[in-house]
């Protein structure tokens, strides 16, 4: 299909040169969106950082940290970086292919569609409508619309590629293509979920499997949404800004293919020391380490492009930002694989080290490159000069400092906390309570917040600078261009069809067959996935009761997993602190898994039965009352809100259809069962002197039911 080259037939016309124009309007739209969401994303991030210092900043249910954090990550990744990608792609793609975008209508649909999705996300996440899966919190209706918009983007991009006037596909385009293809696969793979209501669903996979899929996605979201497209942008905008060709074009090609064939398999390193099978963990580690080579090849290629131009780098804020961006890329891609080494990960995991690591990537690599592109691109399409280079330079310094002030304290915090967690007294008991380890790093949190604050300030500066620039200039909506169309490709296969080409080549045919076989294999295996008959079972492990399921969904709604893990790793320091380490068999009914990736608060997998119900009741009402240095927000509304039971039967049925073994008549009797369990809990609470006539119907009851159940199954004697 790639061999069809041009839409118009030159033979008809007198001269072969086609005149056309580039669509700068769409570029501008995405550029503005990028700047805007950049501000929002970073500001929300700042709020989250401050909430860790001042719990009182968790104003309402909608703005508790548990909901603000996913809002921040989504805004940063999909709104800021996402729009940044589209801005960069829409500008460079047209010029690299010497063709206007395939369809202006599709471009518009893509733009507005994407903004709507972001809006929907910005509304649903604070409302607690979330799947709890990191970077994939959006619920299924939004997932679907993402798919639609993404496909629109795909059609638009490939359409342009097909009607291109430049035969050679510049390496950047390869990175764009890779991005589109893999993100499609990932998004679909990780969004396999069964809805039980318009806004809610349960994932197809449970427990360990769900976790693996999630991090296969999670890692590749980083790889193919935050990295490959930006590499493409780097390979276009860095040479353009420096006005010199990339150091080694061959290297960039090798860089691409090497990355493509390794990246997709590094995912499991996010689950080291979890209940994921050992070998799968190590596999993730090995492939992550392999990644260093291509990544650094890319970084060096980028930096060497500027050799001999460093005098200009000193002058030019655009180049400066790009240099920092590429360097940050190098740092992050070195650190990532290191963190995936088991022994390092044992220290870094669940701490702020990881947070620092990802922010080197986002603030440095994505942020700085985006800013650089904006400063370079806006003046170009508005046919003017940047309003103030001085401001841009200031922004550069502020942003760089902000990044350092952000990352370094967090590395420190991570290291400190982790070593305190592992600290035993000479007579073999843990030296520090969890709270002590938290108090110890509060100062770093303050520094981090400062770093974040000035980074945001930088963004504000940029927006001001850009607005002034835009005011000073005038958008060149359609940029005139002319080029000769492609004619029958020269590569010796004049007008030949690709399948004919394959038939004439047994080997390619064989490869095709191989892949066909694999597809067949998938089709066979897929149904097996639905029935988890051979996930290790543990006799005692039983499905959650209806009330516990409701409690669990509240846990998800409030985003508790943002701060609390449910995965005790097999280290003495953890078993001492939390109890027996987690087994994969314990999670078979967990839809979705709630292992978490960060311990701002202690692990909760063995919380069940640790405290009396009343403790939880009071703790939710006012955590500081229990231990005053706690930074957990109040969840007092749980004590007054009435639990919505309307969907419970639907939930149970959905879970049953996914393979959770409830008694067939259970959906009919859920409410009685819930009343029974609620009554027990309410009774216990009342005996501890909690007064509330409506107690049985409160949300808090369900949550307590869930928490008290957590991790108790394996220790419980088989029931009568």
């Amino acid at each position: 299909m790639m061999t069809t080259t041009t839409t118009s037939d030159p033979l008809e016309k007198e001269v072969d040169i086609e005149q056309f124009s580039y669509d700068n309007k769409i570029v501008r739209n995405f550029a503005f969106a990028t700047a805007f969401w950049g501000l929002i994303g970073t500001s929300v991030g700042l709020l989250a950082a401050l909430q860790l210092l001042f719990p009182s900043l968790n104003f309402t249910a909608e703005t508790t940290f548990g909901r603000i954090r996913p809002l921040h990550t989504n805004a940063a990744i999909f709104a800021f970086v996402g729009n940044g990608i589209f801005m960069g792609v829409y500008y460079s793609l047209q010029r690299l292919l010497k063709a206007r975008m395939f369809s202006d209508r599709l471009s518009k649909m893509h733009f507005w569609g994407w903004q709507l999705i972001i809006l929907a996300a910005a509304l649903t996440i604070p409302l607690g409508i979330s799947t709890s899966k990191e970077y994939a919190e959006l619920e299924w209706p939004i997932d679907l619309s993402i798919a639609v918009v993404w496909i629109i983007f795909g059609i638009n991009m490939f359409g342009t590629i097909l009607k291109r006037r430049e035969r050679h596909l510049y390496v950047a385009i390869w990175f764009y293509i890779a991005t589109w293809v893999t993100v499609t696969v990932l998004h679909v793979g990780n969004s396999l979920e069964l809805p039980y209501s318009f806004w809610h669903s349960y994932p197809v996979f449970a427990g360990v499997q769900d976790a693996l899929v999630q991090w296969w996605y999670g890692h590749n979201a980083v790889a193919f949404f935050l990295t490959t497209p930006y590499l493409g942008l780097m390979y276009y905008y860095l040479p353009k800004a420096a006005n010199r060709p990339v150091y080694s074009y061959r290297l960039s090609i090798i860089h691409f293919w090497a990355l493509i064939f390794i990246y997709i398999w590094a995912g499991p390193h996010h689950l080291l020391y979890t209940s994921l099978p050992d070998w799968a963990q190590s596999l993730g580690m090995v492939f992550s380490l392999m990644l260093i080579a291509p990544s650094w090849g890319g970084m060096l290629n980028g930096l060497l492009t500027l050799r001999g131009a460093w005098d200009r780098v000193r002058e030019d804020p655009v180049l400066k930002m790009m240099v920092v961006a590429v360097t940050a890329y190098g740092m992050a891609t070195l650190e990532g694989p290191l963190l995936s080494i088991k022994s390092v990960n044992a220290i870094s995991h669940y701490t702020d080290w990881t947070v620092g690591h990802v922010h080197i990537g986002t603030l440095g690599w994505n942020g700085m490159l985006t800013f650089g592109i904006l400063y370079w691109l806006i003046p170009k399409i508005f046919q003017t000069k940047l309003y103030s280079r001085k401001l841009a330079n200031t922004h550069f310094w502020i942003a760089t400092l902000g990044m350092l002030f952000y990352a370094i304290p967090l590395y420190w915090a991570g290291w400190t906390q982790s070593s305190m967690w592992k600290q035993f007294t000479p007579d073999g008991v843990l030296q520090y309570s969890f709270l002590e380890t938290l108090d110890a790093i509060i100062p770093m949190y303050a520094l981090r917040a400062f770093g974040g604050a000035i980074y945001v300030a930088g963004v504000v500066l940029m927006i001001y600078n850009l607005i002034k620039t835009v005011k000073g200039g005038q958008l060149l909506e359609n940029e005139f261009a002319e080029a000769a169309p492609l004619r029958a490709s020269k590569a010796g296969h004049k007008g030949e069809h690709w399948h004919r080409w394959i038939e004439r080549r047994p080997v390619q045919l064989m490869i095709g067959a191989t892949i066909a076989v694999l597809i067949g294999g998938m089709v066979e295996i897929f149904p097996m996935l639905m029935v988890d008959e051979n996930v290790p079972k543990i006799e005692n492990v039983q499905p959650y009761t209806a009330l516990e399921i409701e409690g669990r969904d509240i846990y998800i709604r409030e985003g508790c997993n943002a701060c609390h893990s449910q995965m005790i790793r097999p280290f003495r320091s953890e078993t001492e602190r939390y109890g027996e380490y987690s087994k994969s068999g314990e999670f078979i009914y967990d839809r979705p898994h709630l292992w978490g990736s960060k311990r701002t608060g202690p692990d909760l997998h063995r919380i069940g039965g640790k405290y009396p119900d009343s403790w939880h009741y009071n703790h939710m009402y006012d955590p500081q009352a229990m231990n005053e240095t706690s930074i957990m927000p109040d969840y007092d509304w749980l004590l007054v809100r009435e639990l919505n039971r309307d969907y419970t039967p639907a939930k149970i049925r959905t879970l049953m259809s996914l393979g959770t073994p409830y008694a067939d008549d259970y959906p009919e009797h859920v409410h009685e069962d819930m009343d029974r369990q609620a009554a027990e809990i309410a009774a216990r609470l009342r005996t501890d002197g909690i007064e509330d006539d409506e107690l049985e119907s409160r949300e808090i009851i369900a949550l307590i039911a869930y928490l008290q159940r957590l991790g108790t199954d394996i220790s419980r004697q088989p029931e009568q």
Partner: protein
């Protein structure tokens, strides 16, 4: 842990797709010139001469 098979095969399929892309690229002579394309992207459109001027300023001022 059947899910691993699912992911593995999915990955192979993607990789296989890219393999074909690679074949196409080689076959259509994409990689026969490893110098000029990198230079070519630097050229701007005729009408953009004015902008280039600005661009130069940006870089030299």
């Amino acid at each position: 842990m059947q899910v691993i098979l699912f992911l593995a095969l999915l990955s192979i399929l993607v990789a296989g797709g890219f393999l074909f892309a690679f074949f196409w690229a080689v076959r259509s002579g994409q990689y026969e010139d490893e110098v000029t394309p990198a230079i070519r992207i630097l050229f701007d459109e005729p009408t953009s001469a004015k902008q280039d001027q600005h661009d130069d300023d940006d870089n030299n001022v």
